[in-house]
């Protein structure tokens, strides 16, 4: 499971395609890049080594995938779209409400303790769907969007890898 983003810098029409693989490797426009981004302080300051080039990044999230960044002091406005947002845009819809399917992936390797939803269940945004035990703690995985459960791919006792898809949430049904 990799995650694919289309990223627009400073209002340019041509996006940068960035794929983040579950092993942490990053592909930019089809080319693997060596990147190390570490957090310095607050929620704001980061140091990025990109193929050993050092960049200081100040970042503020504006919501809806929009970021304001200072990279080495130069200001950039960046919009990051994941596949769901891209589909949303393709369907010409607004930016609210889910269109298409969303996968709840394992954010770390672990053991599924409980599955809290069944196929067909409506779920609200932030509603817990799976309990995953990892690093000796129980972690509640929540629905990133509201919708209807389309598939449940694991059951209690399943050992899952980082990034593995656990539950698929489809768009909410018309009558909800």
């Amino acid at each position: 499971m990799s995650t694919r983003y289309m990223t627009y810098v400073d209002g340019r029409e041509e996006p940068v395609e960035i794929i983040i693989h579950v092993d942490g490797t990053v592909e930019v426009d089809g080319e693997r890049v060596d990147v190390d981004l570490v957090h310095i302080s607050d929620e704001t300051i980061y140091s990025m080594l990109l193929a050993n080039r050092s960049h200081e990044v100040f970042a503020e999230y504006q919501g809806e995938g929009e970021w304001i960044l200072l990279v080495d002091g130069e200001r950039h406005e960046v919009r990051v779209e994941d596949e769901r947002m891209q589909r949303l845009r393709q369907f010409g819809g607004g930016t609210h409400g889910p269109v298409g399917d969303t996968s709840v992936d394992a954010p770390m390797p672990g053991l599924v303790v409980k599955v809290l939803v069944d196929v067909g269940d409506p779920v609200g945004e932030n509603q817990p769907v799976v309990i995953l035990e990892a690093m000796k703690m129980e972690n509640e995985l929540r629905a990133p969007v509201a919708g209807v459960i389309k598939a449940v791919r694991v059951q209690p006792g399943t050992a899952v890898n980082l990034g593995e898809s656990l539950v698929i949430i489809g768009p909410p049904s018309e009558d909800t």
């Binding site: 810098v9 983040i20 957090h39 980061y46 990025m48 130069e74 960046v78 972690n139 995985l141």
Partner: protein, 497 residues
């Protein structure tokens, strides 16, 4: 020396003055409006008093309140900074009448230099060159004769006028009669008065000013010039000392002229005489600022004289500590004014809270700042939030150091003019010292946001952060709604990377 000084100002200049006082062992009293309770000048001062709501007219311009606070706090002197009441003769007089010392020139000198006509007359008496021209009410023939005496190009201007109406630029003698006629018609139509006059047109002029110091015992010295031609709509953006246009002879002539004017008006304390200098190194009186200037630090760095401390010493009656021949300019200093304005959107003021701030430091870098993380930039006050001043052995050293310092500067929360300065220090004409007051106007690329780079670094950083954010949003630690554990987990995830 004074025991306690009230600073009738705010922002970076109030902080600057407080520091000078502290370094002289003088106690300080700050005043603040509702908008400035948290401001640096309040925090750095020994005492602070509230004087009213944010609009200056209800606080920083209320001389009654300022004098009341000064008396309550037991201050023995008042420093006005620049702006607000700094060139207000009534305030200077009121301070004196309250038995306090005004750290600046006499009310008479302030009033005299604040009146354009009176100031020009004083300049004339002191032998300061004025832009050559005629008075109004002359006949066409008299005007034509005067134009030949003054030399072309000239400007024909409506005597009653303003706003460009009835104004004509004339480059050759044969254009003149028609231009006078046209100007008269326009003036008549616009102001009901066809009287016009002629003034020499100064093309490619530079704005260069001379800093003077004068004590109350008749001693006056020049601290040399500052180059202030990097302006936009008469707002200075960057200043340097010395001027790249200067030579020893011109400096001496301008300094002597400035000192003569100060003597003519019996000036005491720090002051600045602004000149327009043409390509042939003729200079003409513009105006005299009877106060500390924003850009005073560049002079301090090249002369080694602390102008604010000298202001305090002079106002306390001491004699100047320097003789003219002891003043030398060593090295090069540049000041970049950092404002909360968007250079790519017509310098529109940008308001908001400064969420992150990281100021440059290191060799040869001096920051005069009025802001901090959490500071709210409001529309009530000047958009200048800090001054970045650099010093180097040579102009080249100073420019490279300025570039380095600009690259270290980080301000988040409001847009600033830092990108403009970054472009400026890379401009070849600026680097070559080849610029006049029309430079910004004639160099539109300085105000273009487009960069050749694709912004790949920004794309990658934002995407990784977005990805991390998505991951975090997905995970809550079961069995607790405590915010901290959530973050602990996030931190752990980060450690996994």
């Amino acid at each position: 020396m004074f025991q306690k000084v009230l600073i009738a100002n705010r922002g970076e200049i109030a902080v600057r003055i407080i520091r000078a006082c502290q370094e002289l062992g003088v106690r300080t009293v700050a005043v603040y409006s509702d908008a400035d309770r948290k401001a640096l000048h309040v925090r750095y001062a020994d005492e602070a008093y509230h004087i009213g709501p944010p609009p200056p007219g209800e606080s920083y311009l209320r001389l009654d309140k300022l004098i009341d606070v000064a008396l309550r706090a037991g201050a023995d002197a008042v420093h006005p900074g620049y702006g607000f009441l700094a060139e207000n003769a009534t305030f200077a007089r009121a301070v004196a009448e309250a038995g306090l010392i005004f750290i600046g020139p006499s009310p008479e000198a302030i009033a005299l230099m604040g009146d354009k006509v009176a100031a020009r007359k004083s300049a004339e008496r002191a032998g300061v060159p004025l832009v050559p021209g005629t008075k109004g009410g002359l006949s066409d023939d008299e005007l034509i004769e005067a134009a030949h005496r003054i030399g072309f190009p000239i400007m024909v201007k409506a005597a009653a006028g303003g706003g460009g109406k009835g104004m004509r630029i004339v480059r050759t003698p044969d254009e003149l009669p028609r231009a006078i006629q046209a100007a008269r018609r326009e003036a008549k139509g616009a102001f009901g008065d066809d009287s016009v006059y002629i003034e020499k047109l100064i093309e490619g002029g530079r704005h260069i000013e001379i800093q003077i110091l004068a004590d109350e015992h008749g001693n006056v010295i020049s601290l040399g010039e500052r180059e202030c031609s990097i302006q936009r709509r008469h707002q200075k953006l960057l200043e340097e000392a010395p001027s790249p246009f200067m030579d020893e002879d011109l400096r001496r002539r301008m300094s002597e002229t400035a000192v003569a004017l100060a003597r003519e008006v019996e000036y005491a304390n720090a002051g600045t005489i602004e000149f327009l200098v043409d390509r042939d190194k003729n200079f003409y009186f513009l105006e005299m600022n009877t106060r500390l200037q924003v850009e005073h630090p560049v002079t301090e760095l090249v002369t080694g004289v602390d102008i604010v401390k000298e202001q305090l010493r002079i106002a306390s009656g001491r004699r100047l500590r320097y003789k003219q021949e002891e003043v030398t300019m060593t090295g090069w200093a540049i000041e970049a004014r950092i404002t909360a304005e968007d250079p790519f959107n017509n310098f529109l003021p940008s308001v908001g809270v400064i969420t992150r701030l990281q100021e440059p430091t290191g060799p040869g870098v001096r920051i005069e700042s009025g802001v901090f993380e959490g500071f709210e930039v409001s529309l009530h006050y000047d958009p200048m939030i800090a001054k970045l001043v650099v010093y180097g052995e040579t102009r080249g050293d100073a420019i490279l150091r300025l570039r380095r310092a600009l690259n270290e500067y980080r301000i988040l929360g409001v847009k600033t003019n830092i990108p403009f300065h970054r472009r400026l220090v890379d401009n070849t004409n600026f680097i070559g010292g080849v610029y006049d007051t029309a430079f910004i106007e004639n160099t539109p690329e300085l105000l273009q946001p487009t960069s050749q780079k694709r912004g790949l670094e920004a794309a990658i950083a934002a995407t990784l952060l977005m990805h991390q954010r998505r991951q975090k949003a997905l995970v809550y630690v079961a069995g607790t709604d405590d915010a901290t554990s959530r973050w602990r987990l996030a931190a752990r995830m980060e450690a996994l990377r």
